[in-house]
Amino acid sequence: MIYWSKISLPLAIASVCLSLQAETASYTHDISPVIEKNCISCHGPKKQKGGLRLDSYSFVLQGTEDGPIVKLGNAQDSELYRRLTLHPGDDDFMPAGGKPPLKAHEIELIKQWIAASAPEKLAFEFVAVKKSVLVAKQAAPDYRPKIKEASAKAESLGVRLVPRSSIPTDGLVLRTASNPKRCTDAVIEQLSSYSDLIVEAELSRTAVTSKSLAHLSKWKNLQLLDLSYTHVSDDYIDSLAQLKDLQSLNISGTQIGKDGLAKVNKLTSVARVWAFMEAPAGLLKK
């Protein structure tokens, strides 16, 4: 089963399904330019007609003394939306003072924005949980013959290879947390000679890029691959399909875009994928 998890924080995060990508608006990207152009002259720092300011996200949500003008999730019941959709001759119509009405697509944007609980910025979250329980795998060859050499090599490269447990077939963990930036594509390449022993690669916040994926995709015993907050992009992402034992993949905060995600989604063995992104590049482009 795959699902896109929705976070119910009202103001914070709209979780965007891939299919929705183009339709969801955020205050910063979409709404503030419209308000800026049409409303600030009367609802800004200088004038606050009707006791209302609209020149920041929090002002918009704050509304007036009488209450909020945005009802999260419901455009029809939101004063903001109602005022824009009245007949231009109506006393309550906004923008007031005979100014030109908003364009139809701008009004539509505001409607969708309110419907999506009026997020300030867009972050999005993609979680694919296909199996709730990870399968214990007979991991790797006995590490004992090579562990000294492997860990010395890792040490010389500024990273660590440590046994996952005292059971010699439980494999090694590639650990970089002490100084993630020292772990570069070159380091990954040099560790490849011990790749059959490595079952977990903790590469979060390291300097690795998509180039490393070409190597990592041959680390055939990898079960966990954490690439979060690296510069990994869509390139070579499909090569991970070669990793038959890969169970957990974290690509949060990477450069991976819509196409890359679609490919990740096709990786059949992976039980867990995490991709938590802040306003992901390429996904929100209109």
């Binding site: 998890s5 976070i7 119910s8 924080l9 103001l11 914070a12 995060i13 300030e120 910025k121 972050a123 979250e125 979680v127 329980v133 214990a136 440590v162 046994p163 996952r164 447990s165 005292s166 059971i167 439980d170 650990r175 947390a177 002490s178 100084n179 903790e202 979060s204 916040r205 954490d226 979060s228 957990s248 974290n250 949060s252 867990r272 995490w274 938590f276 802040e278």
Partner: protein, 515 residues
Amino acid sequence: MNHTLNDPNVALCSDHCGEHPNVANLPELPLSLQKEWLELETRRHFLGRGTKALAWAGLASIIGRTAPHLLADPTALLPQTPHFAPKAKRAIYLFMAGAPSQLETFDYKPNLADQFNKDLPESVRGGQVLTGMSSGQAHFPVAPSFAKFSRQGKSGMWMSEMFPELSKVTDDLCIIKSLYTEAINHEPAILTMTTGNMFPGRPSVGAWLAYGLGAMNEELPTFVVMTSKMPQKQNVQALSNRLWSSGFLSPEYSAVQLRSGGEPVLYLKDPKGVTSDIRRTVISGVNDLNRQLYEKIGDPEINTRIAQYEMAFRMQTSVPELTDMSDEPASTWELYGPDAKEPGTFAYNCLMARRLAERGVRFSQIFLRSWDMHGGLPGSMRVLCGNSDRATYALMTDLKRRGMLDDTLVIWGGEFGRTVYSQGTLKPDNYGRDHHPRCFSMWMAGGGVKPGMSYGQTDDFSYNIVKDPVHVRDLHATILKLFGFDHTKLTFKFQGLEQRLTGVLPARVINDILV
């Protein structure tokens, strides 16, 4: 100084035992030399004390593995490897000091509504010895929870209205309703929860893990403790570093406390006029001397000290990076709320715990006090839950969406439970509850714990456990299991015993709650 180093007796004296050499036990000296000697003596003494102070400040919790060239005996600090593949790589323990009532939080007792102000049946109390705070009461009137409960999530577990935010992640929680302890007063009870023993001097859970696992990140301590600003200055219990000490384990495994005001870690900054280069030179010099001393007398404590100096030096860069939250995206602040911007709040500490976990710190323990509600419970409960609910939810959500909950164990709970009967006057909307060690609730999440389930059961009065009791020892054995340890085999020889976190009495891993 040479004199001190050449003479083994004096060398031993300098820090470990006995009397310091002084001008009086030396052959007669000219006055100018005496003065110089005294000056040197004070400085040397200060350095000696200084390192102790550092250790006390907790600048210690080191690195399980120190670069071999730093140590005379490189194996001395090699980390142990877990017995089997761990599910949890790190833990965040939200310690609710003072003991939150189970009745208003996780142990829902709908039938109590009809029992309002009726005396607790003697058969339920079963002659139990009470604390002096309520033992004199003529009556033990049942106080139903003022807080309402509703079913939440797919699991349909009963959640309290005290935790509207946390309720959104109900399906991630494993609620244990059947914990018990022997201790009925705070200090012994908190010690039992944190160290497995009600007498001071034992290593804390975090210290055992640091000792057993070593560091993931050698630039930061393995075990970190934070105390939180209190939302109300009532019902406060004292906290001390007994709760996070390494006990008889090497001091490097005790927690470093991250402080909320001033510098996050004490004595880390270079003094005025001392550049980083000078500091480096001094530390290298001191460590060289210490290595010579080690070669002479072989006391492993010297290696600990060398490692601590190095750690402190590394933390000069790693701690500022850790505590500078300007790199957090807007979504973080939206999630945790405005409180998280203020250092020392529970929300700030929760966010800090996520940052620590992200950087590979094994064990972060956040203390939130003021749960000791002997009177005025409903009002205080609203304040405390209100203060912590959003942050707790935010931490869970944050770990989840970053893909960290799978291997980060989150633990929430206090040191014992509270009585179903009211301490003092009972009104429907105002009452108090006394200490109750016979049952209490906690929850765990992530790190290999089964999500969306509750475990154990108490009787209709939440007074006695009727199903699946969990002693604190069992909890500790389970936590160790999640980190890949057989609790009977993670030991340290001290006072002729193979000491362990769970002690010598039987302890049971609660396999039913493991994935």
